[in-house]
Subunit: 150 residues, 2 copies
DNA sequence: TCAAGAACCTGAACCGCTTCAGGTCAAGCT
DNA sequence: AGCTTGACCTGAAGCGGTTCAGGTTCTTGA
């Protein structure tokens, strides 16, 4: 703890919650600008600013933005109010996508619950119940995977 | 429509809803057994059984099973009642995982909604509202990404 | 019957990372 | 000074597919 003029990669990881490998990868592909290096060791030294960016990107990734969308967002954030409309649209699109995913996920959870019940019934040899559950599965499957017509 | 002793890959796709590329990929890695070929053209001909397996796998993939889990499942399904306990556990694990994902997704949706509100406020120059929304974002971010301490 | 276009084929490259192998560097113990 | 341990480095390969390039084969309609 001598100079303290930058965070090590481990410290950056502790702050943004992303794996080291991802930090290196994002730098490699130019999503974040090249990180300064310690003169002697050539190890990365993250600035406060770098870490703030990573924190934001971590959230954006968590909600499902693609690399390209994150690039777009960063560019828009740099332009400020001028790009506010585009930023709003970007987030609206993803909010919408997430709402859809939420519905799909709820169905899938029900499907898995039924699968548990089905194999549970077979486990204890209750074939009547197994048949009942299998019948419940049919209509659900069609809603999960509409192409599945069986 | 001469012989009708098997489905073409396009027909299989229509039934299971998976992309062609995935069908070829799963065959390549041995998740599904090698599909019979038409003698003259070498094109794949899927049996009824093949298609039924693909339909099931499509559902399992949709709910998030890994390739390895799907292999395990197929092996268990072949063993029948004897493996019922293992199958139940497999599905319980995934049902649990999905329930957790559902909670996380709900939080993320709220995060995106706030992001929309934030940029919407900036778009119309309502800085007070933008600041209010930004303040609401803080605690939410900590719940989405606990490592994010800013 | 022959040419065009659709459907299919394979192998390789790409995506967004993660993992692994093999090597460098800094700090602490002996 | 030498040695170990741990953090860090790079480049390459792996994962689960998807996409693309380049080449057959099937179908169809003029």
């Amino acid at each position: 703890m001598v100079d303290k003029d930058g965070f090590t990669i481990a410290e950056a990881v502790a702050r943004c919650g992303l794996p080291e490998s991802t930090l290196r990868y994002w730098e490699r592909i130019g999503l974040v600008r090249p990180i300064e290096r310690d003169e002697s060791s050539r190890h990365r030294r993250y600035s406060h600013d770098d870490v703030a960016t990573l924190e934001t990107l971590a959230n954006l990734r968590a909600v499902g933005l693609s690399i390209e969308d994150m690039r777009t967002y960063l560019a828009g954030a740099r332009r400020g109010d001028e790009a506010a409309g585009e930023q709003r649209v970007l987030f609206e699109v993803h909010a919408r996508r997430l709402a859809d995913e939420l519905n799909a996920l709820e169905l899938r959870r029900r499907y898995l619950d039924l699968k548990v019940q089905y194999w549970s019934a077979r486990e204890v040899g209750d074939l009547d119940k197994a048949a009942d559950v299998a019948e419940e599965l049919g209509p659900l499957i069609r809603r999960i995977n509409p192409k599945d017509t069986v």
